[in-house]
Every structure is written in structure tokens, then in C-alpha cells.
Subunit: 357 residues, 2 copies
């Protein structure tokens, strides 16, 4: 059966002041009335059925995540006691999947992305899942670049899989780290490179076999977790073992060295909404290029992103600004300085105003 695993453990400060330690990006309603994790759940539940949606999250977010997804089936919320990167996360989920469905095939995806054409999204995921069900191996979905983006990793596309039928799957040549601007321009012009969106598909047992082959230490730890699944001491074993798992990403740690590693190009509109300025990619703008959400009065503004989750926010006579207002935190930044939110958060910590972080 086809399952979906939503990776919802992300923290981060890039959406301060909306995001907080206990309310990271996936729990925010950045682009619609629903949170990103809620929208992700609904999007994949329509493909695999709500009973086969799984969510992996962090201990600090477990309660809020469960509250956001009340129909999540019992046992489908997997809680990592501590973060150990994506190889451990996916491995833990694959053991949980295999324990209830030995033939489980699953798509893995982040909780905090925005997808434009959900039907095409589901059709693409179904095609990729069908491929790994028939042919085995690990598959990643690659988004066709629409701009010379330097903020993403890329996938270098290899030879086409020589198959009589099915979707246009290719071998994956390699994962590429974030490129510089000239390199990114080359990728866009010459083709052959896709954005790494962190969306994957594989049979759970195939992933675990690759972990066992390439990462024996991780595999041994995961086996201890697997043995405890459903037992009375599951939580205690999780708490004891999880912190000992090696930190490694599934991209470089598992997929790149896998015996069969596929990539399926994807054309659905996609954004990882990586920062406040990225709201411009996914929300409509007025004629002056302003994007507003919440109770906002914008007078004589241009290219402004103005977001309020409560306060009445007024912006007058400015251009190229990001303005975000909450009841206890406000950010005003030049759009091209928005990455400095991390410095803001550091300064707030230094001043001892941690209650707004």
C-alpha cells in the first residue's frame, strides 16, 4: 500500500516574529487560513487516504502538531526525542511503516512547502511511487528550475531509465550543494539540473536495506528501535537510543550511494517559502507589487510584504520592505536584508528577551 510520511520536525528562526520555538514555520498559516502542516496533510491524504499519513516531529512540537491534525490515526505520529537529521528520521519511519505493512511504499515530504497544482502534485507522486514499487530503488522528485536560484541544492539528472512504460524517470547522477549565481544560471540555461525539494519515494524495506548496507551504525540503532515498536518500553528505548544515532542526511548518507537511485522531474508549482520575501512567490500582489496578509493598511507603498497576525499594521510611503507584526514582536527589514532575521534573533537572545523567541 502507498503511505505518506510528512517530515514536520523543523525549527528555525527565519520567520520570526511569527515563528517561535514552539510554533515553527509548519505550524504557521503563512499563505492561507490553514497551517502549512495541515495543508500538507490534506494534500497527501487525498492521495494515500488519511489512515496512511504519518507525521514525524520533534518532542517539543508533538502536542501542537497532534492538535493541528486531530484525525491523524493512532500510532501515526512519530516523535523524535532529539533531532538526528533526515537519514535517522526516515529510517525510524520506515521501520514503523514496515511493522504495520511489510510491503509499504511511501512518499516522504516536508511539512512546510507550498504546492500550486495539487492534482499534478499527486499524479507525480503516484507515478514516482509506482516506479519504485515496480523497480525498487530510491527515488527523489526534482523540480524544474524557473530561475537561477542559489538558495537550493540541485539534482544532476543522469541517463533515462530504459523502461518500456511509466513516467520519465532518470538515474540520479548526484546531489549538488547550493551553487553560486553563475553556476545556477548555467543550470537554468543548459538544463540537466533540477531543484532538490526533499520529496522522495521508496519501499520502506528498500530504504532500510540501503541504510544497513551503507550506514551500519545507524542501522543497528534503528533495529533497536524497531524491536521495541509497540512494546510497553517503546518510549524508553526511543529516549535511550535516539540520541545515539549518527547525524547524517538521507540525501548524501543514503540516496547518493544507493544501488538504484532515481530522479523524476516534476512540473507542479512549488515553493519552499524559505523566508519572508518568498511570500511574493506564493501570494498575489496588488498593482504596486505589495503582498499583504491580515489587518494591514498600506498607503503609497511598493514591493512591500506586510503581514499581521493580529495588530492593525499600517505602512506608509515605503518600498522594498518586509514588515511583520504580532502582539509581542515586530520585524521591519529591507527585503534584501531579510536573511538577517537570524542576527535579530541572536540580538534578542543577548538582551534576554527570550520570551518572544
Amino acid at each position: 500500500m502507498l503511505h505518506a510520511v510528512i517530515m514536520a520536525g523543523g525549527a528555525g528562526t527565519r520567520f520570526w516574529p511569527a515563528s517561535r520555538g514552539d510554533r515553527p514555520k509548519q505550524l504557521l498559516s503563512l499563505v492561507a487560513d490553514t497551517t502549512l502542516v495541515r495543508a500538507t496533510f490534506d494534500r497527501v491524504a487525498a492521495l494515500v487516504g488519511p489512515d496512511r499519513v504519518w507525521v514525524v516531529t520533534a518532542a517539543a512540537l508533538a502536542r501542537a502538531t497532534a492538535a493541528e491534525l486531530p484525525e491523524l490515526a493512532p500510532g501515526r505520529l512519530l516523535v523524535e526525542p532529539v533531532g538526528r537529521d533526515t537519514a535517522a528520521c526516515a529510517g525510524y519511519a520506515c521501520h514503523a511503516l514496515a511493522a504495520v505493512d511489510a510491503e509499504a511504499v511511501a512518499v516522504f515530504l516536508p511539512a512546510d512547502h507550498v504546492i500550486g497544482d495539487e492534482d499534478r502534485f499527486r499524479a507525480t507522486l503516484a507515478a514516482g511511487a509506482g516506479h519504485v514499487e515496480r523497480h525498487g530503488g530510491l527515488l527523489t522528485f526534482g523540480i524544474r528550475p524557473t530561475r537561477p536560484e542559489t538558495g537550493f541544492g540541485y539534482l544532476e539528472v543522469g541517463a533515462a531509465a530504459e523502461l518500456a512504460a511509466g513516467p520519465p524517470v532518470h538515474h540520479l547522477a548526484r546531489f549538488v550543494e547550493k551553487p553560486d549565481e553563475a553556476t545556477a544560471r548555467g543550470y537554468l540555461e543548459h538544463g540537466g539540473y533540477l531543484w532538490n525539494a526533499g520529496i522522495f519515494a521508496w519501499r520502506a524495506t528498500d530504504f532500510l536495506a540501503e541504510v544497513a548496507r551503507q550506514l551500519p551504525l545507524l542501522a543497528a540503532g534503528l533495529e533497536r528501535l524497531a524491536a521495541a515498536l509497540g512494546r510497553g518500553d517503546e518510549a524508553a528505548v526511543l529516549a535511550a537510543v535516539y540520541p545515539t544515532l549518527p547525524r547524517i542526511s538521507l540525501d548524501f548518507g543514503v540516496m547518493e550511494g544507493a544501488e538504484r537511485c532515481w530522479v523524476l522531474p516534476a512540473d507542479f508549482p512549488w515553493s519552499d517559502v524559505g523566508s519572508w520575501p518568498a511570500l511574493r512567490e506564493v501570494l498575489p500582489a496588488d498593482r504596486a507589487g505589495n503582498v499583504v496578509r491580515g489587518r494591514v493598511v498600506a498607503l503609497d507603498c511598493a514591493e512591500v510584504v506586510a503581514v499581521s497576525d493580529g495588530p492593525v499594521l499600517s505602512v506608509v510611503g515605503v518600498a522594498g520592505l518586509i514588515v511583520v507584526a504580532t502582539a509581542d514582536g515586530v520585524l521591519v527589514t529591507a527585503a534584501d536584508q531579510a536573511q538577517r532575521v537570524k542576527d535579530v534573533v541572536a540580538a534578542i537572545k543577548e538582551r534576554g528577551w527570550d520570551e518572544v523567541l
Copy 2:
């Protein structure tokens, strides 16, 4: 005896979002930990004694004003049921003064100004009050201009009073409405003009005599109020009579036509703090010209005024902005557009978000 009357009935929207309908500028702590009306009270109480400080305010502000000035002597808070401009306000106060002290001399002053050198301020007020005590007439204090300000009315200085001793009092030639920039430059260069700060001194009975001579309708209404002072029906008479009083300013309605009208040049540092950008006149700036109050993190900013009365406010990579944050209202405006706060308030009203006004 010398008294002081603080005119504290002002409303207005220029300090939104800090100011609200029930919390106008004089009740804000714009430049220090104390409110402007509190600072004004302390400043004049040191001159006349706390028992001889009077405050006139509006019905909607009476409770908040009394709470801010708990030591205000009983009967010293005069509450206007409705606003009827400054001639009525001062006339009402003069009757109340005369009722307790037939020889009362008083300085009248706004509740919401910032004064830099309080000793010089008090010495100047004492000198002006001494002059009217000895020579009668109505006196206004004029601030020597330090810039070609077009936002104030001016006082045209007439001939020097020919007196053997006392402060350098002049006859007042006339009140001048806000000038255009060229005219204001001329005033600054050629001298002979002072800023009208709305600070006055006179014997209460002298002011009332001028009202009787020039504004008989107002005088008649004020006589009805005076007759009821201290009676059981004082509040009822006030409520019935006050709305019938003519609306006229004391500058043009009483002083300009007075038989003896004086002006005393004043040199104490003074600001009416008329808008958010004016905070630059009265608060220290950092080396980049930023003025901040409250929990503010400013990174790579220049010439920014950033004020928070609670939220942590972060401003990054911008210049020439005014940013003001409260829990339920936020303003971000180019400094040279700050007068558009009134348009913001109108837009908020239009959208029905009146609870933040």
C-alpha cells in the same frame, strides 16, 4: 498668589498607534518614564506649589488624568463636558481661580510639551507672571526660533515695554498664522518673530474683564458657570451651559484685541513634540542618527525613530523611517510622510477596526 493652569484636554491622532481616543498624547510617556501631563504637573508644581496647580481636561479623559495626578488638590481638576476652544477653557479656569483667590495670577500652559531647562523655564514664567501682577494685561511667552519652522504660529514682537525694571517684556504686535517656508526663513533671519508656544500669564480677573469687553456672549455663559461653582447643581449647570459657549481661541479672541497685550521672549529649550519625527528634537540619537525607545533591536539603520511600548521591535537595514509598535497597532512610515497618520486613522475607521483607535 501664583497659580498654574494646565490645559490637558487635547485629543488627536498624530501619535497613533501609541495614542488612542482615551489616551491622547499628554497621557503618553513619549520621552521619559512619566507621562507628559505628569511631567508638566511636576514642572509647574515646583514653581507655584502643588496645591495651586489646576488642570482642565475633557470628560472622556477626566478619570485617566486624575489617576495620573493623584495629588491634584480637590476641586483643582476642571472638566469640560465638551470642547469649546481655548477662550472658554481659560475663562472657565479664571472663574474657578477667582472664586478661591480674588487676586489670583496664573500661568496657563499646554500639558503635552517638552521643556529642556526647567529652572530657566520656571524663572521665565515667574518673570512674566510678576510683570502682569504689577502692570496688568495679558502676556504670552514667545520661544526664540531655532529653525524656519512652518508648523507653528508666530508672535510678531512690538515695541519694548518702557519700564525701569523687570524682564524684557514687549508689546505684542500680532499673532501670525503658520507661515510658508520663505516667510519662516525671513522670520528666522531678520528676527522680531517668536514661536507661539501657547503659554500665557495674567491675573484671572484681568482675563475675565477682557472676555467681558470683547466676547459678551462667552462672558455671559461663563458668568452662569461661575454662579454655580461650588453649588450642588454645578455639574448640571456645566453640562447645560458649556455646549452653548462660543468656540473661539484665546489668541485671536481675547489676547489680540486686549488693551494691554505683552510678549516675553523665552530661551528655554522647548518642543511641542507635534509628531513622531519630532522625537528627534527631544531624545538622544545614536551615531547613525537613530532614536529608539523601548525594547528595540536596530541593525544597520540610519535616521530611524523606533518606539515600542511593549513588543520587541526589530528594524534592519532601513533609513529615514518611523516605526512604532504597540500590542495591537503598528505604524511604519517614511519620516517625511508621518503627517499621513491621519489618513491611516481614517482608513482604519473605514475598515471598521475602531477598537485600535
